[in-house]
Amino acid sequence: MTHNVYVYIFLMWFSTYLLRAIPLTLFRKPLRNRFLRSFLYYTPYVTLAVMTFPAIVNATQTPTSGALALVLGVIAAWFGWNLFQVAATCCAVVFLSELWLL
């Protein structure tokens, strides 16, 4: 059986949208439960950290350049550089280090 690509795309959109829209539109009262509040407070840090490492090391041509970007990116962010500066630092580190490494 062949499937219609547009039906596929619609189903992808629909299931993704449900996951996003249900909490945003239906859960409107502030949470009182302490565990849930704490859980949601910690969620973004865990998610973003998990998405960053080890993915950053596997994204580049050599693991070394990705690891360098991670270390220098952490240092730049530690000293309060802003979003764009940290992102640019990571890109520059990878580009320059790969000129040497490759």
């Binding site: 993704t16 949208y17 996951l19 996003r20 009262k29 565990f35 950290a49 998405m51 990116g73």
Partner: protein, 264 residues
């Protein structure tokens, strides 16, 4: 007369706050858009491999705006999967958005209208969530609109170009640009980790477990999206049990950071 003046002043103040929030969103959106462009380009190459046209690839990106979810979907399309399979694949790969939605709606004013919520939900990506949740104060939809304005076109066009132009971009450029997103994530999680020891420790523990999970015999075969869900649920639960957040702690944080509103 006097009242009218005050009302109009309040209105223009609100307008300028909204405009500032929108432009903030645009500014924050630049590195996101850059990262999106690269990632979506690679995604477009997968779309092509699955037999999609440039239009269909762009349409999927414009509607779904989900990297791991779209990747899972394209893989399923390549295998001529059933409609049920593609729904399940999308639900698993995107489950984290449910958690993010729960967290973000806590920052929304209860009076935020349904249409704003429904619209933001269309484009609740990892990056939009990260930026919106860390922005001090109540969630301002204009900030999200700013991010959406600049990032969604890049995400959409990048996918279409990936379908058409596959391997034209030099490898070094792809490599360098591909870490832009991660740099952004670091800029979001490191400063609070420096201020709050528990958050800092949690970030390190998350790095460690994420690495272990990517190597572990059974877990490493999972899709990346599912691993993110599992680790988030487990690690954030453990942290919430061991270090429950006091209400004034959360408030403290928003007050402290609101001083540096114009940063970055």
């Amino acid at each position: 007369m006097k009242e009218e003046k005050e009302v109009s002043r309040a209105c223009s103040l609100k307008q300028s706050v909204n405009r500032a929030a929108y432009f903030d969103g645009l500014k924050v959106g630049i590195p996101i858009a850059l990262g999106y462009f690269v990632v979506s380009f690679a995604l477009g190459m997968q779309a092509k491999a699955s037999g999609l046209t440039a239009f269909q690839g762009g349409l999927a990106s414009f509607t779904c705006s989900a990297s791991a979810g779209e990747y899972a979907g394209f893989k399923a399309i390549a295998e001529n999967a059933t409609y049920l399979t593609i729904v399940l694949a999308s639900l698993v790969a995107n489950a984290r958005y449910f958690l993010m939605g729960c967290a973000l709606c806590q920052k929304m004013s209860p009076s935020l209208p349904f249409r704003s919520r429904a619209f933001v939900a269309l484009y609740l990506t990892d990056e939009l969530f990260g930026m919106a949740i860390m922005r001090p104060g109540v969630f301002n939809p204009r900030f999200a609109y700013g991010i959406i304005t600049i990032t969604v076109p890049f995400w959409t066009i990048g996918t279409s170009l990936g379908v058409v132009a596959g391997n034209i971009m030099p490898e070094q450029w792809v490599s360098a640009l591909s870490v832009a997103l991660f740099g952004m994530f670091l800029a979001v999680i490191v400063p609070p980790g420096r201020k709050n020891k528990i958050v800092g420790g949690l970030v390190l523990v998350s790095f460690l477990f994420s690495y272990l999970a990517s190597k572990a015999p059974f877990l490493s075969e999972w899709a990346e999206g599912s691993r993110i869900v599992l680790l988030t649920v487990v690690l954030a639960s453990v942290a919430a049990i061991l270090f429950p957040v006091k209400e004034d702690e959360e408030r403290d944080e928003t007050e402290n950071t609101s001083v540096t509103e114009e940063e970055p």
